[in-house]
């Protein structure tokens, strides 16, 4: 089920990648959906739906992660740095 949904979202991304990006949020609604569904399953579908509803002309968009503490650039850089340190220690 997750595989099918993720594949569908990916297909959508490939099909629309020729247009200028149009999502008000970062990450885009489709990327948000992939992460949310991968991590939370059915609850993720609801989360993705709610995100698409929020992504409307009257919202201001912005940075909005599924789990900010896991996904934001700083968090990722931190893990990457940690890995480097471990590699360095060996």
């Amino acid at each position: 089920m997750r595989m099918i949904l993720t594949a569908l979202v990916r297909a959508y991304q490939v099909a629309t990648s020729n247009f200028a990006p149009r999502c008000k949020y970062y990450p885009s609604c489709s990327n948000y959906a992939i992460t949310a569904i991968g991590r939370y399953g059915f609850k993720g579908i609801a989360m993705a739906a709610w995100r698409i509803v929020r992504c409307n002309p009257w919202s201001q968009g912005g940075v909005d992660y599924v789990d900010a503490h896991l996904d934001c650039a700083d968090a990722k850089n931190l893990t990457r740095d940690n890995e480097k340190e471990v590699v360095g220690a060996n």
């Binding site: 020729n18 149009r22 999502c23 609604c29 992504c55 002309p57 201001q60 968009g61 912005g62 934001c72």
Partner: protein, 310 residues
Amino acid sequence: MGFILNPLYNIVSGVIVFIHKLLEPLFGADSGVTWTLSIMGLVVLIRIILIPLFVKQIKSQRALTALQPHMKEIQKKYKDDRQKQSEEMMKLYKEHKTNPLASCFPILAQAPIFFALFTVLNGIAAKTPEGVSAPIARGFLKGEYLDSAAQAAFFGAKISQSFLGSTDTTVKIVTVLLIIFMSATTFTTQRQLMVKGMPKMDASNNMMLQQQKIMLYLFPVIFAISGVNFPVGVLIYWSTTNLWTWGQQYYVIKRNPTPGSPAYEELQRKRAHKDKLDAKGAEGIDQDEAIEPEVQGQREQPKKKKKKKK
């Protein structure tokens, strides 16, 4: 689902029947022209309703000029980290209460209408298992209107027929032509935006050309796959809305182009030229006026004050 879909059927069929009533005296009740124009009228109505959103979008895109230095700074600062770059960019937009991106709402808003039109038109073409025509009435499209619509033709092809659902050669030719038209309008719209409407990019021109090429092949495929299942009436709707998009964009690019784009420079040149001519006509009246157009549209943005923490 009925409680969601029935109102949609009512709206779509109501608008079509209403426009049909208005046009009846001009082209005749059973004329294909009347029915075609009714579908096109539905498109025009929807797109007019969506214009304020479009204007809002254009305005917030213009507001970006003021943010240009900040954006460059961010790009430089995080040039090795695309994610951080995007994050900071979004934060910047939010801080200045502007967002250049449209969100998918304008497209999603049209989807239910599109679906309802599809169902209403398919209802006209419905047949019994024995192949006898048995139109299904939906919304206001019933009785004499239903019979009339079932017979209405667009260049000889019945508006309720689809490429796959019909053996009629005329239907096949008309649907194929409409699909080609849809692909062409989408492609031209996109090309127009890329060539004239967007600020010049640094090194991404190559990528854009690549994308255009993919699009040139991808769109006819997408339209062909979906288009062969759609009744002629839906294809008319789709073609009209594509044409509208093109026209809307043409107007904006000509009259109110994005600062920094080739179309903008062209307009500036034209204005400068016109101002020169005006200045010659009334020499030495006011020098400032000739410079004015360059200042226009770049209102100084109010600076955000940092709140002190208490």
